[in-house]
């Protein structure tokens, strides 16, 4: 466990009025990690991602990405430095088709986003990449439909496809498979797990089967603060975690 940290939070605090949603969090995401973040509802997981990506400004604390302090950096610049996220609640482009969406993202990613004289889709490499992504996420058959008319599950997939199209170095996934049928979830997460070894992933998920299968390290967040961190085995056995999060049911997950 001595890979260098790619994403680091130091003393991160976020308050909404009287509510402390993030309470002095220190967290390190190491290079190539498959890291999971779990915790009860309202523990502050999404808030943490919002702080990382700059959607919310922190009340105090620092964020470091690849050795650089990015606490004050504009959100889009953080993306350009390789940190990409998905959203717990779909954030899609309602009037575009999946194909257009991905073509736009891929062009943007490949530095063609500033070009105004060529036409979207002119670049063969971009189109090929889009087709591959559509295939991977089983969106090929609906690639011409407006996003707003897609079934929920398909939209969920598109949500992930967009993030991957950004070719992230650090990927933050906020409950990416919620709404995807049980059978397909594992495969989907395998796709993520199979990303190149230098891509680091932080996953938020409530489906414990998936988490334990996916993660090599787990952090538990409760009431905005880190409760504990450790290997999946250690976490699964931790009585504290059981009490506040996993529950004492006959089985760990509801799968």
């Amino acid at each position: 466990m001595n890979a260098p940290a790619v994403l680091k939070a130091q003393g991160l605090v976020k308050q909404f009025g009287g509510i402390t949603a993030t309470d002095n969090v220190n967290l390190e995401l190491r290079l190539g990690a498959r890291h999971a973040l779990i915790g009860p509802n309202g523990a502050g997981k999404t808030t943490l991602i919002n702080l990382f990506t700059g959607v919310l400004p922190p009340t105090s604390g620092h964020i470091e990405l690849l050795g650089e302090d990015i606490s004050q950096l504009a959100p889009y610049l953080r993306v350009r430095r390789g940190m990409v996220r998905t959203f717990q609640i779909n954030q899609l482009f309602a009037s575009m088709t999946p194909l257009q969406t991905l073509a736009m993202v891929v062009s943007q990613q490949r530095g063609l986003g500033g070009r105004w004289w060529s036409v979207l889709g002119q670049d063969q490499a971009v189109v090929e990449r889009c087709e591959a992504l559509l295939e991977l996420f089983r969106l090929t058959e609906v690639m011409h439909q407006r996003t707003e008319y897609l079934a929920y599950g398909k939209r969920r997939l598109l949500e992930m496809a967009i993030a991957l199209a950004c070719e992230p170095k650090v990927l933050l996934l906020d409950e990416p498979v919620a709404g995807v049928p049980a059978g397909e979830r594992e495969e989907l997460l395998q796709t993520v797990a199979a990303l190149p070894a230098d891509v680091s992933v932080l996953l938020i998920e409530h489906d414990m089967d998936l988490v334990f299968e996916f993660a090599d390290r787990i952090t538990v967040l409760v009431n905005g603060a880190v409760l504990t961190e450790g290997t999946p085995q250690a976490i699964a056995a931790d009585p504290q975690v059981k009490a506040v999060y996993l529950g004492h049911g006959e089985e760990v997950a509801h799968g």
């Binding site: 049928p181 049980a182 495969e187 409530h206 529950g247 049911g249």
Partner: protein, 243 residues
């Protein structure tokens, strides 16, 4: 057990597009039905149709002897439907408390147990009580899910429509909620239809199961049959193993 809901050759969709063709099912009082199916097979459409939020093309919906399909959406709630939409649809400019009080209805007469009120919802989800004055948009995903369930309960319905209610909830809350649903259906005679991506989780507390594919019922039985027969379930859900 007396029959509560009867759906007959229902077809419905959005605009001119027909998503459901000829769906029939029935459900007894105090029974729970697991509604299963792959992505995009029309589960949500069926739930929304029962709640009156799609365009119905034909067929009948009878709830406790009363024809629902002729009623406008808002009167179906009065007739006893409590709806938890898939995307939660929390009213974003209302606080948690207002989300509950805006729709709350008094309990039905002749009901033994204590009617659902915002207070009772807070007891079930203490987390919501702590966030009483937050606006809808200022809730975490799971909190929104709890609120959506609570909001359906304060309608004091006879039939609860839960569209993927467990999605995004912590395991401990999931357990809690499943237990609560089981208890409510048992003790208060409430019926429920639950859509879920984790069939095993709900089959355990369900009495009956229906599988949809391409807008048609491809399987209907008691829950037990599917629970004991995972291969059948897998083949019905066409669980894909490629990718």
């Amino acid at each position: 057990m007396a029959e509560l809901l009867k759906v007959e050759s229902l077809s419905a969709g959005y605009g001119e597009a027909v998503v459901l063709n000829d769906v029939s099912l029935s459900l007894g009082e105090g029974e729970t039905l697991a509604l299963l199916g792959r992505n995009g097979t029309g589960k949500t459409t069926l739930m929304d149709t029962l709640a009156g939020a799609t365009r119905q093309h034909g067929g009948q919906i009878i709830l406790g002897g009363q024809a629902l399909h002729t009623l406008p959406s808002h009167e179906r709630a009065a007739a006893g439907i409590g709806w938890v939409p898939q995307e939660r649809n929390i009213f974003k400019s209302l606080t948690v408390h207002e989300n509950l009080t805006a729709v709350a209805r008094p309990g039905r007469a002749g009901h033994a147990s204590r009617p659902w009120s915002p207070e009772r919802v807070y007891e079930m989800f203490p987390r919501l009580a702590e966030r009483k004055t937050n606006l809808g948009t200022q809730l975490s995903g799971g909190e929104q899910q709890m609120l959506a369930v609570g909001r359906a309960l304060v309608l004091n319905p006879r039939l609860l429509l839960l569209d993927e209610p467990l999605e995004g909830l912590a395991p401990i809350i999931v357990e809690e909620l499943l237990r609560a649903i089981a208890r409510i259906t048992r003790e208060e005679g409430l019926s429920a239809i639950i859509v879920e991506q984790h069939p095993q989780a709900i089959l355990k507390i369900s009495h009956r199961a229906v599988v949809l594919d391409h807008g048609n019922v491809v399987h209907a039985s008691d829950a037990e049959t599917l629970r004991e027969n995972p291969e059948l379930l897998d083949s019905l859900l066409g669980v894909a193993r490629k990718l």
